[in-house]
Amino acid sequence: MPKPATPQRNTDARHGTTYLWTTAIAALFALLCVTGVAMMTVYSPSVATAWASVFYIQDQMTTGWLVRGLHRFASDGLIVVCTGYVLHRILTRRYAPPRTRQWWLALGFLQLAMGAALTGALLNWDQKAYWGTTVRVNIASLVPVVGHELRTLILGGPELGQLTLTRFFTLHVAVLPLLFYLALRARHRDAAGLCKPCGEAPDRTRTEPHDGRIRVRAYRGAVRLMVVIGCFTAAIYSQYAMGDAHLHAPADASALDYPARPEWFNLFLFQWLKNFTTADAEVLGAIIIPGILSAMLTVLPWCPRLLTKRLGHALATAFVLSLLAATAYLTVTAVQDDMPPSEARLASVREKETQKITLTSRESRDLHAHEFQIKLKRAAFEANRAMALARLHGVPPEGPLTLMHSDPDVQGPRLFAAHCASCHRYDGHDGLGLTPGTPATSSDLAGFGTRDWIRAFLENPMANTHFGLMKKPDGSPAHTRMKKWTNGQREDASSDADREALRASFDAVSAYLADEAVQPGRLAANKETGDLLSRGRAYFMSTCNECHTYRGEQEGTRHAPEMFGYGSVAWIEGMIAQPDHETRYRNKGRQPAQMPRFETTITPEQITLLARWLHDSAAKSTSTAQD
């Protein structure tokens, strides 16, 4: 007859600290269920409404951001804790028979946690979700033989769409949580069952009260409670430390410039796959090797049995630890690869590239990282813009893309990069932040039509930001007449007083023309009042009007572009549509327009978006400068 104290101690030894891990898992799972069900009361899984409903939770509902944030960080936490649990089982040798099933359940927890995170990510129906899921599903389609059918099964059709969303929704809110619950329950039962061999008798057969037992229970209960509170606090603290759970711009299959990266717990796979650069190797790297490693993890419990017990344990532990180390290493390098290179380094790599010297892989990585960071900034801008638009206008029934596609701040830079940046620049870049490889051949349009822009132009029309880069077909500078005129004016001003007066006139006419860009014709009707704007207007009518028409009228005979509403949306629209129009740069004379007509190239709506962006962004830059 064994002493009653012995089995008790054994039970303790068997349990150890495992219960802390499972308590944390259960706590986070409960938190996910509660916040998840709360969000289900709002979320609407359709491609037109998914993003809008998440936006509504995140931005419009009281504490919606908190509930969504808790859900998100609890999900991250669950993956971390499940990994810790797997590790704990290995390090404390709790994976071999009779605990085989427990080991599998631990692996199952981790799989389910990641599966839930991945299916949940798509529910945002934002850019990150869309492109991330596209890549993940296409990786699944690499599975030999049934890959394509598997892809169709996951997507619910030939491409990512409505049925993908509803399938992922069902998996996320019903199937995976149910499996997780069943796994938790099975683990609980197994854990209880494993105590039986210790010889512990059920309570009712005990003849004497067992104070130690009760004390242990009370102690454990207290620790469990602390773990639960700790998990909840950690989730809240993550939200505080890392900011809100992000919502990116709505999913847009036609936006090609989104810099997609996987979820953080998949970065190691992403980095790993960089080593496999042919189609056959890719199957090896994405499917076969991970498959073998997973299979090895699954059969790990038999490792000590096949070899000697000690050697087997050592090997199994080494295997899991090296997997973990490799994962950590790959994750860190994945993040490092995307870090922006220093300015000096970027300059030296660019220099090498212009000299057509083959770049090392590190150098091309630097270039890619640079582009990636710029696109990341742009994506962040679009995310904020999407939220701002949704706040301002509400999301229409067709979905949030309508907002994005009709917004000048979103589409303007894209159109500029696509159609204008082969000649023009915007603040030195292509509108989206990148610098085209071919040099600019025309003006820099950032701030076009503002006072500063016009004033700089009058100071030196042939500056590189204005007419300086424009060349006639024979290579000589184009549009030199303006330069001749300003030079002439300066030469005429002989005394200091004259020069001062000319500067004042240029200041005034710049201010006046900048006003034309905002309110065309406002000052034409006004009587002269002697302030800056009306002085500018007077100077324009007396001097500039010799060449530049105003509403088609002019004093002199030489031709230069119309100045009514110069820099306004309508003026820019006209310039984009027909640069060779009579009121712009004409198609005849000594210096005909070199810019092609865009009225046939892009739609009138696109021209308006472009013009509005150029105009509004210029106006904004002025107002911030004045503030």
């Binding site: 409505q162 410039d257 890719e282 292509d430």
Partner: protein, 189 residues
Amino acid sequence: MVNLLSRNRTQMTRRSLFQWLAYTFHGAAGLIVGAPLVRFFLGKRPERKSAATFQRIAPLSVTSTDQPVRITVSADRTDAFTHYPPGPIGVVWLVRNQDLGGAGQVRCFQSVCPHLGCAIDFASERGVFFCPCHASEFAPDGSQNFGPSPRGMDELPCRLSEPDDNGERWVEVTYQEFRTGTKEPIPTV
């Protein structure tokens, strides 16, 4: 099951008979629900896709020899239970050759990366097509420079129309998408 196999099969007891019957009926019940469910998830769905024919996507004047232009292709489409009026269905790149002599002076490339389906962008800084996800790089003629893509960019059938009333010629393209990760382009639909 174990019981049945361990016994002498010629001697079927009443118990084993009932056990077999139970398995059979459970199986039948499972089949009644399971078979339609399998079809529910794997079966074909009614497809309403616009026939793959040449459609005008852009006037020739849009294209430039300097750099590829990206064109959003519009058509009506069906996604599950929603039929959408004409709208963006995909993006293609139009590349115009230097010489404007012969036919085929404009080539059209799918923007979906043949590797894993990210969008190929034109990296104007370097003058190459570039997929930002896994760094596949393609030359302006669509051929692969390097990177993990199993093939070059997918080229779409492309032709030029006769000049219209305004003397404008149009680029006509048959829009298609292809499977990712295969060496040869296989249309998805």
